[in-house]
Symmetry: D2
Subunit: 479 residues, 4 copies
């Protein structure tokens, strides 16, 4: 396993292809680096090692769990718990699950495709994976195509490049063209795993393509946008002040990919399955990170209530109980998804579809409400809090301190820090990004509905209705 | 294990003390008998035997799982699944969990009390339990006291009997007085397990009493109310037409209880713990039965949609997905509660408090909405459906059939049966009772809030907020 | 204006064509008669006369407002207020608005049709209306066709009779065939006003038919279903104990209608407009009756809270405030609909479409939640309350009274009466019918969405978005 | 009436006392100035003049309606409509209602106080008002005290200054000390109207103080925080790009106020009434501005749907209908509040308490949900949209344009502008501020509950429950 310093070295060695705000930025200056650092640092913290490290089933070596292919229900539970623990410290997205979630999906689908078509994707994949684990690589997953007209299929778009596609097959590899949107933390990833975003028809094989490309491969262009918490004077700063995250529109401007990095190429029927399976793993990851977001919100809300002297009020308790429910319903179903997981022929363990999807959906439909609850408990101050410069100003600082005071036991400084943090997570560009991530990340509620309805055994339930209503007789002797 | 016929014999032998509608009824005429019959019949159905029967840890004999004291996470999961399966056939409450839930709680608390006070409750309890299992006994739990003024404690009421209490201690036993409300299916139980309903103060030892009494003991008076689905002509009847359930106000009018049936008597601090632990087991049971209620609602709704030709409409799918989510969030957290369960010194396995409570709460806050969804999908007909007598009438029957017709593939008879069933579960006295049970059964949402807030580690979450906001430093080296 | 006794005489004179529970019933025995009686009695109560009576714009005579064609915003406001006042005493549906709402719609559409087609419907209608007012007639509106396959149009059904249609035109009148569902209180109406239920295409003129038929005309068959509150011993009875309401599947088995009672016949484009306009008037009526339902629910909930000693608890207040909001948002928009109403060329005043529909929709999406709130405040007792026979029983009555006691100030009798009433409105067949009426009566939420989206000026709002986003320039000099 | 240029001159003449980000800023550089400019410009736009100007009842001169004391229901309706119209162009808060709302409240309370105490506040107020109107003054209202420990009264705080209070009475005026929080747009106001924030006890006369102070009076210190939409290159800019708003913690550091500007001083019982009445006027203003916010959200959402090709999808329609309902329920109740308004002895017209409060509450409890709906319709792009600099970049601009394209009819530029606007209103610091304003501005939902419960005639509703349940007889002859 690497240290964050080794990771930084690797980033520095990458060619500049990150476009942001009119500049081409070096990767060491990208917002979100501290989040990825955390995934290295935490493997050194004793009390979390049982979660953050594991043993590779490929090599038997100790690896960062963010590089692990899940082999058992216990693996899935450990991944979920690690995700919650690390995302708490991140105060939100922990960035590194996307890559490994896509690799878990590929471990299954490459095997299935080989069985069906006699291809050799799975062995290629395993070789790739061994290196990935050995190097403690940071990967990201580029899935969401830009999609053009939303009601048209890839093959129906005016411009065929609006879904990533193979434009040329060569002896030693393929050339791909297109763009992937919403690519969180992509400039901080060494490997970009690109996979399809939807089900494909037989004639849409060109769009059935999965590849791994180095983040700085020729033709890859990362057009980025950063979101940050406000900068703050050091004496009043929080853990993440001035830091943030980055999103990428990742453009594949005719990128060459050698065959050993191609994991699907033309097998249309596996395009959709791969898309769905990545989503499934990623939704399972959400059963870890989304409760962590709720942890942050509820802990902050409870502390605000304590600092304002209203912690024991009935309506505060009922709001906190709502936040707890939001977190634990999601987390509990993540556990259930591991309990009901299945081992595939590839050896990889796949979590239960229904539990993952009802959990992710529940998180998605509640996220704005959670912010609403925090806002209600906090009152208006996070939107109107004076700046740190005034808090420490010789001219008005004492007055600001005097008037921010609430309960006697809590200093004006602590009050300020807490409210500045609430302001960061509810009244900054980051706040909006986290709300969007809560709704759409890993699949919007409407996508989960589709996944649920596709999978759920509703015929069994209709059968029950026929028995109860007398339309059909119960086929065994009861009642 | 008994057959339902043996059970009926036992009921017939009981002395008449059931008051209902101005009559004293024999137990064989009480609505709800078919539900309890089901719990005997289903032990004979091959495909469910692995769920409905198990091996007694006390005697090693095969027993009905409704008589089992849970010893492992697997036990808890099997109980949950059995509850869902049987409650589906019941179309709702399966009646027999209350008794065994209270006995599971007693198995833990009697042991704890003995450790603390040197009492002998646990051995008594185990003796009682062996007989209970051997006889395949039907028990119920009488918990909710009538409570009088809601803001006053037991010792503060104008009438001290508004919570069940010990009025006399004798050499061979005790005399109890009071009344327990909302005692579902009590007249069909052979044993009534009475336990406290709330936390008690030191001076409230008289109210800290747990006993098992035969349902027809002298002084026991069951003042009952029945709710039924409408009676229907045989050719149009559903599985439960004309049947229903029964509720009891169970009065203990100075009932003598011999010591071997007394499991708590005066140890005030265990009164509340027993109350809470029964609730916990019962809420865990709800993670089985409540999804079954959702199964019934969603299966019915999906069949209505199919029979009306609208099954593929987008808004139908999204409503069904809501119903699925309601069911599976609750069920998933029941599984998680088993995974995170703890073994107590008594050997009994106790499910996780937070997962059980968020699940039960979620069920409770959603139940009316589930009926709303069914109502929206069904349209107005369940409220205005002609009677069965007109459907088969020589005079107007053909016209009724003509005008109830929807899609070609479904006969007017099947349409009628289905809508009559919807009418039964949404527009009958039973419907309201099921709505109330969904909200209040096993504890209202506000009670779950209390249980959650009492248990949840919010200090850990506030600590997190202190780290993130910079009020305190993270005590290890990350980020 | 008539007395209820005169109205009863009229009902008794009608020929028997009400089929219910295997019998042909006389109209004096139909549940719901007391509700219609109320609409006569209340015109005699001094404090409500300004609401319940008005002056006919046709004859200048004093009439029951339930027979009025609205001529002004003030008329619409008075109708709304009368509806709330009378529906309160009815404890729900006041039954008589449907008829007059359809007549208001006809007053407009007959005029429009005459203008467009040179027909003579409006004069006919005015003649009919004069008699209707003079006789203080009870009318009902038969709108909802039985509809068959829900995704097929009238002309696409396997059986063309699934929407009411003209099957023969004669010299002196027409013959209609079909059936109308959900026809509340129809057997208690002297006149049935039948109108179309949806938009019709040019080739669907046969289904564009509006007529007034006497309730006992040859060929009319009312297949009915009653719902009632429980009967109760006189000393414990409430205002409506043992009473209820009636729904009819109204079959037109080749009914002859003379021309002077035909108000639309073949003019397809006015079929949909008539359907929509009736719905509009009826939704405006809901802005009166639905707040009355909320009044009943909130008053009952507040009294339960008072009788239990918990009236001052914070969560009770917030639940009551939710109920108040539900009522007054709907009522307020009814007022706004009158303020923004329009006078049509016919002279009739038409309420605003958007305000009526957002109000009706809000009522519909909240109704189950309102019952939920009452259920939460009431606790489980309404579902488990002993029968009145036990309350007065010499054997157990004293015990029941002892144990139903709550706060000292309220007698067990009053407690019982109140809880029996809660049980009536939440755990009876009536409760379900009221929930369905709340959702579907006058149009389901999905129908209101359609009406809103059809009418609302969204283009103006998109224009605003273009200005704000810089896509287009604001065309005047601001900012 | 002034032009915005004259207003700017006035601002420039004010002494510098605005502290923000470590600087003392001149008022011409404060974010939000464009919003106030709008209130001057729009009085010149012909089509809105009937709304934005009116005739002073004091002087008979034409005045800006933002300076008007409402004299009739029509005045209230016009104010509501003006507020919606202007707030639309502002894309949110129109800033100038706070001042005039407090002056309306003062017009009533000064009169009442004079009647009760023989004081001379009302005449003083009228003099002040004439000048205010003549000068077309911009006022703001400083109400929310900083409050300290939330469960302690003003007189119970450790520091008595945590609520604004009189610290000295002099011959020619008074000295006040304290601070008011959440003072939107205060640095852009020429007059600050300070009034109490809560009910006061008899011994709390020192805190019962209402004054008008010039924004740059000695001792006044405005500690400010700005929130802005992102700056954008001119060719892609929207109407408000780079602009925003400002909030102030307004400190009264021993400010002297001459008697002619003192409108309450010591009359404790009127402190709470004044607080409540300002809130009432301000909540009525919300019935105008909050629907405007919904207009912006829904127009934007509808345009996004159109530009993505999904406008006709069912779930889009139902989401738009939800947004329409949110807007129009609030707006409709604002109209009803004017219809049911009352004329006070002062001549000022006061809107209905219940309708204003249910409307404001409804807006508050829905605001986060409205953003959620926009987020769901928009998809993830607003959170990940590349910067404008890349859109116009010679290096990657063409690729960005290629991949942002959706439906053929809409250019990439328009797509970009629209999404950049969505990003502005949902993923910027402004977005959070607007969410907080939506919840807390003018009073949080919990404050509206209190106002509603205090006012609503619940006794009448309980009476109804007594009649219906048979506890009491209906006192007149019905049914």
């Amino acid at each position: 396993m690497r240290s964050k310093e080794e990771y930084h070295e690797s980033l520095k060695a990458m060619k500049p292809n990150v476009y942001m705000g009119g500049e081409v930025l070096g990767r060491e200056n990208i917002p979100g680096l501290d989040i990825l650092d955390l995934t290295f640092d935490i493997t050194k913290v004793e009390e979390y090692k049982h979660l953050t490290t594991t043993t590779s089933h490929l090599t038997g070596e100790t690896i960062n769990r963010f590089c692990n292919i899940n082999q058992s229900p216990e693996d899935l539970m450990a991944k979920q718990e690690m995700t919650r623990v690390t995302a708490r410290f991140a105060g939100g997205c922990i960035a590194r699950c996307m890559g490994i979630d896509s690799l878990n999906a590929l471990s299954v689908i490459t095997h299935m495709c080989d069985q069906a078509h006699g291809t050799e994707y799975h062995d290629r994949f395993l070789e790739f994976m061994k290196t990935f684990q050995k190097n403690d690589t940071v990967g990201c997953c580029a899935q969401s195509d830009v999609k053009g007209h939303r009601l048209r299929r890839p093959s129906e778009q005016t411009d065929p490049d609006l879904y990533l596609r193979v434009v040329e097959k060569k002896k030693d590899g393929i050339v791909v063209r297109g763009a992937k949107a919403h690519n969180s933390f992509a400039p901080l990833a060494e490997e970009i795993i690109a996979i399809p975003t939807r089900f494909l028809r037989e004639n849409e094989g060109d769009w059935a393509v999965a590849v791994a490309v180095r983040g700085d491969s020729p033709g890859v262009k990362l057009v980025c946008r950063g979101s940050s918490y406000r900068e703050r004077v050091p004496e009043l700063a929080g853990l993440h002040s001035g830091k943030g995250e980055v999103e990428s529109l990742t453009i594949f401007d005719d990128v060459f990919v050698p065959w050993e990095r191609v994991f699907l190429c033309g097998e249309a029927e596996f395009g959709g399955q791969l898309a769905l399976l990545f989503s499934l793993y990623h939704r399972h990851s959400y059963t870890g990170c989304k409760p962590a977001v709720s942890d942050v919100i509820m802990g902050t809300a409870a502390l605000v209530a304590e600092y304002s002297g209203i912690e024991k009020e009935g309506h505060i308790g009922s709001k906190l109980a709502e936040l707890i429910s939001a977190a634990e319903l999601v987390y509990g179903c993540g556990i259930a998804a591991a309990v009901r997981s299945l081992k595939t022929p590839s050896g990889t363990q796949v979590p239960d579809v229904v539990f993952c999807n009802v959990a992710r959906k529940h998180a998605g439909v509640n996220i704005y409400h959670e912010y609403d609850l925090l806002c209600e408990i906090a009152g208006g101050l996070p939107a109107t809090l004076p700046y740190d410069k005034e808090f420490i100003s010789p001219e008005v600082g004492d007055l600001v301190k005097k008037y921010l005071k609430r309960v006697d036991e809590v200093s004006a400084e602590d009050m300020y820090k807490l409210y500045a943090w609430v302001s960061d997570i509810t009244c900054s560009g980051m706040a909006g990004v986290m709300q969007y991530a809560g709704v759409h990340g890993g699949g919007s509620p409407i996508m989960e509905d589709i996944a649920i309805l596709r999978t759920y055994d509703m015929a069994e339930k209709k059968q029950l209705a026929k028995w109860l209503s007398g339309i059909e007789q119960v086929p065994f002797d009861i009642g």
